[in-house]
């Protein structure tokens, strides 16, 4: 979010500089010659430092992706191998230990099986379908709540209120964004849990709805601030033209501003989605953490009350299990592969958001 604001803030500066012609390089060098060599070296150093700070984000992103992928990669290259002598001896020594033969990892099972039994003694299964469904369903439900609220608030803050109210609202909304996710999780666990049980007659209050409400509350502030920026970017001449044509305030918003700012609003929504997909602590505490496809009942029929089913997300699974998976084991690598999967999902969402923003710029 901050990234986009700074980028937008930086743009006009560049533009305002270039017509005057920021001193041509030769001229700059001449000016510098007047100063001490130390000053020049110092400036070079600072420039380099700042350049590094700028580029560091790219290095970090690729670095993280590389390390996460490196931990997961051996899954794809291992081959079923005959037990070494040592292993054979071990099996003999513990003949009563009915450990399954080492299973080769299958990407198909990973993506399409809903059976997640990473520490099973008899039949280890690494299927994350239920976790993907959990993540997506919680996110979609959260967005159904957050999008109307977030964009509504953005329109209100940007167009319908002014002065003190506007400033207060903006500060309070920023504060909402500053609440740590573990605090949200705590609220889900202690406050929302009994409320959901009693209000909706749900057997357990730690469920999809609980997690989705928390995620909605967490992603609304992002949507409001970016949505508001997008609306602010619509030139005032649009508003003036609308009013001149006799449009009411609502018609102005609905017919003029929203269509004009739609790319920015879309970006706001997508960044909210990114936040919701990546959120860990709150959903770990509030969704019930059950490997469960909420839409299907135990007998295989469709479950219309799916919002009250406990679910488990990809992020929460990593958080809960990585600490205890022994390093280098298949379980450990699969958890990293879940990391790669999450990384890909959020990257796609963020890239889409970025392209949407670029869309505005071109206009």
């Amino acid at each position: 979010m901050a990234d986009i604001q700074t980028r937008e803030a930086a743009r006009p500066n560049e533009l305002s500089h270039s017509p005057h012609g920021a001193l041509p390089a030769a001229g700059r060098a001449k000016k510098r010659a007047g100063r001490g060599g130390l000053a020049i070296a110092g400036e070079k150093l600072i420039e380099l430092l700042i350049r590094l700070c700028g580029i560091s984000a790219i290095i970090f992103v690729f670095g993280i992706f590389f390390f996460v992928f490196r931990e997961a990669a051996p899954l794809f290259f291992e081959k079923p191998k005959a037990p070494t002598q040592e292993q054979a001896a071990m099996v003999e020594r513990h003949a009563d230990d009915h450990r399954p033969a080492h299973k080769v990892f299958s990407l198909k099972e990973f993506l399409f099986s809903k059976e997640w039994y990473p520490t099973s003694q008899s039949n280890v299964r690494f299927g994350v379908l239920a976790l993907i469904v959990g993540t997506l369903s919680v996110t979609v439900l959260a967005m159904l709540m957050a999008v109307p609220f977030g964009l509504g608030a953005a329109v209100f803050v940007s167009e319908f209120c002014g002065g003190k109210l506007k400033e207060t609202l903006k500060i309070v909304i920023e504060l909402l964004a500053a609440i740590p996710s573990v605090v949200w999780g705590f609220i889900g666990l202690t406050v929302m849990n009994p409320i959901i049980q009693n209000l909706f007659n749900a057997p357990i209050g730690l469920n999809m709805l609980n997690g989705a409400i928390l995620l909605a509350l967490m992603s609304v502030p992002i949507m409001v601030s970016i949505g508001e920026d997008a609306l602010k970017a619509v030139p005032d001449s649009f508003r003036e033209a609308g009013i001149a044509l006799g449009a009411t305030k609502w018609q102005l918003v609905y017919r003029v501003l929203i269509p004009a700012a739609k790319n920015g609003l879309l970006a706001a929504v997508l960044l909210g989605v990114g936040r919701a997909v990546g959120e860990t602590m709150a959903v770990l505490m509030a969704t019930g953490h059950a490997v469960n496809i909420p839409f299907i009942k135990a007998d295989g029929s469709f479950n219309p009350w799916f919002t009250f089913e406990p679910v488990r997300t990809l992020t929460a699974t990593i958080a809960a299990e990585l600490g205890e998976a022994s390093e280098g084991s298949q379980h450990y690598r699969v958890l990293f592969l879940i990391g790669v999967l999450l990384f890909s999902i959020t990257a796609v969402v963020n890239l889409t958001a970025d392209m949407a923003i670029r869309g505005i710029k071109r206009k």
Binding site: I46, N201, G205, P310
Partner: protein, 308 residues
């Protein structure tokens, strides 16, 4: 303008330099304070981690032992038996708490890393208790019924299947299964005795990350059933008597029934060290096994070792 630019640059450089030196100082300060915090005498700290079931007990031991021997500080952390054992193998835990025995594979790994077999100390028992909400009229349950509730392919999903007609405050008839994360020693033990070594849990149980969380969630959820250490019982939940088989007499978990082995799902609790421990750790473990240490086992709600 260019002059202004240079001054701001230098200004920034100064700010940066101050910032960097500050963080440097901060680090040094914290290092020295932790050094001086250890007081006049030399304090040896011992890393003790693992079983979440045992974390309260280990904490109580650590606090009490500090009075006995202030020169040793036992630093306790939880996280689960799996974490403790992983720590034992990679060397971050000097004592690992575990609510299950080491797997043969783990013994091999530890031996490969440290050169000798890990040393095992049985330090007490825990009666794994079955908890339901305090309004639940259920009083007893058999291991088979628990299996049908929890195992993959088990048939029992409704309270009425167990003969419980209505639970005051409950929403519907569904049994909400509370379980533990899949690396927990308690999870492993429950799977072994209730589901069977070859079986697995029914998907869709609510998997929580701590013994205390299980009890707290059950206290808030009238439809729930769950398993946790006996020491975590609160007035908000009810412990159910357990029978080995349907029709056999059901037994309440307590010290007596655990020691005479009539309670079917009691388990020993262990502490492991990588090989023979150094003298200060050996002294601590001896104290844990002494009467003073075993009294704390009883006080925290677990079952002490039988007197010899």
């Amino acid at each position: 303008m260019s002059k202004l630019k240079t001054t701001t640059n230098w200004g920034m450089a100064i700010v940066l330099a101050i910032g960097l030196s500050q963080t440097g100082c901060g680090k040094r300060d914290s290092a020295s304070s932790s050094g001086s915090g250890s007081g006049g005498g030399e304090v040896t700290s011992v890393q003790n981690m693992g079983s979440d079931t045992m974390v309260n007990l280990a904490q109580a031991w650590s606090e009490e032992y500090h009075k006995v021997d202030p020169s040793v500080s036992i630093e306790v952390s939880g996280g689960g038996s799996g974490l403790g054992i992983a720590g034992l193998i990679n060397g971050t835990a000097e004592i690992a708490n575990s609510s299950r025995k080491l797997e043969p594979e783990e013994v091999e790994k530890c031996k490969a890393k440290h050169g000798h077999d890990p040393k095992e100390y049985m330090v007490g028992y825990d009666a794994l208790s079955i908890f339901v909400h305090k309004n639940n009229p259920l009083n007893e349950i058999s291991i088979e019924e628990l299996g049908e509730i929890y195992k993959e392919g088990g048939k029992v999903t409704k309270w009425s299947d167990l003969g419980v007609q209505s639970i005051p405050g409950a929403q519907g008839d569904e049994i909400v299964r509370i379980s533990r994360q899949n690396n927990s020693g308690t999870y492993h033990y429950f799977r072994e005795v209730v589901i069977g070594k070859k079986g697995d849990f029914k998907a869709g149980s609510v998997d929580l990350n701590g013994s205390k969380d299980v009890v707290e969630t059950i206290a808030k959820t009238p439809n729930a059933i769950g398993y946790s250490g006996m020491g975590y019982a609160t007035p908000e939940v009810k412990i159910v008597k357990v029978a080995k088989k349907k029709g056999e007499p059901s037994v309440m978990p307590n010290i007596e029934t655990t020691l005479n082995k009539t309670y079917p799902i009691a388990r020993p609790m262990f502490m492991y060290t990588p090989g023979s421990p150094p003298p200060h750790i050996q002294k601590y473990l001896d104290w844990v096994l002494s009467d003073a240490g075993q009294k704390i086992v009883k006080d925290t709600g677990y079952v002490p070792l039988p007197k010899k």
